[in-house]
Symmetry: C2
Subunit: 249 residues, 2 copies
Amino acid sequence: MRIEVVQTVEEIRQEQIAGRTVIVIDVLKAGSTIVAALNCGFASVLPVETIGQAQALRSQNVVCAGERHGKKVAEFEYSNSPTAFRIPHEAGKQLVLTTTDGTIAISKAARAAHVLIGCFLNADACIREAIRRQLDITLYCAGTRHEFALEDGLAAGMMVHLARCLVPASKVCDLGKALEASYLQIGKSLPDFLLETATGKRLAQQHGKEEVLYCGRLNEVDIVPVLINKKLVNATSAKPGDEPPTPKA
Amino acid sequence: MRIEVVQTVEEIRQEQIAGRTVIVIDVLKAGSTIVAALNCGFASVLPVETIGQAQALRSQNVVCAGERHGKKVAEFEYSNSPTAFRIPHEAGKQLVLTTTDGTIAISKAARAAHVLIGCFLNADACIREAIRRQLDITLYCAGTRHEFALEDGLAAGMMVHLARCLVPASKVCDLGKALEASYLQIGKSLPDFLLETATGKRLAQQHGKEEVLYCGRLNEVDIVPVLINKKLVNATSAKPGDEPPTPKA
């Protein structure tokens, strides 16, 4: 099993997607929001690009969440905020989510054999689910504003470390090894360390520390969002036949 | 003072060069070879792109070194090999060096305010020299075969760490912080750890372990190659006026 890390949205190449399980990592905050939304009761999360697309989908069972440049879209029920979903509610409904650039990585990865969403909240469950699918794995860091984001890199490093513990023969790219070492050095300072990252600092100023700190909690939930027919659903609730068959290793 | 890290040759942008001190990092092996060559007595190292260019420059006081795809150019005196320069000799001569891709980063960085060459062998001296020049700093990892190379990233991480100790108020990009953490986690296993990297493994198979291990020795020399009129000379022997004046911070 090969594990590769891609450090920003722009850099991914076709060969890092095709025939692989791609884990899209966007810790602050789209990835954490999606995981938290499925965990609180939503049946699915549909990422869309524009506010208009989200509005058009609205109905009694479809609620909208989203932000533009860090601010909640005024007419939506929710922002791109994981802490809004800490308490169980909205059982069985669909969430439509649009964010500044958090959904771009998901659409870029859409041609992968499997697309999962990972962050600190579900890191252990997510890498286990990826390994179970028996393909090479690409850890796809979304980054922030076209730059490498330390929090995404640390989450990738955490998943590399977990994968190497579970499958010691895994072949990991040099960047993956560097980020595993970063995680081993810094990980024990999470979640507080998130406030030291460029994105974390900015978001804490905009929205307070609590939300940033929540995104740095490790293995809080065992939900693994998987992309099926453009919607993200929990991997364990996906029905057989929903996804293309996993080839034998 | 800002410190930014660029992780491969292709990725550097004009704004990461202009008005900055750029440290080109190519641990295995062009950077280590240049540092070792100046340390053993060569007055200067002239990087050139082609074997023909190197041949044309040959004279009694100009000797040639180079490799193509890991093999010494047959008619040259030296390969791209730092261990050939461990004993003082060739005093005052010029070395002309051509490598597969090691010199590309140097030519890409040529428009910087200052271009220095750094590696593990001179990491401390190199970052001190860069700080002395009072400009923002770009640590420019050359990588190997267009991919991020862990050894270059660790050397960048080591320089970030030294810089933050010397100038605690430095502003470091997220990748620089990640690599600093990687260095703090892995650095104590150097030089042996170099044999675990993708490039280190390959070079050890081609040329034996000794040369790879030599490149992983920390702060072995205090030579800092600086680019002046297309030639690399030791920064402390550069005459006033050789370089453009350093603006005040």
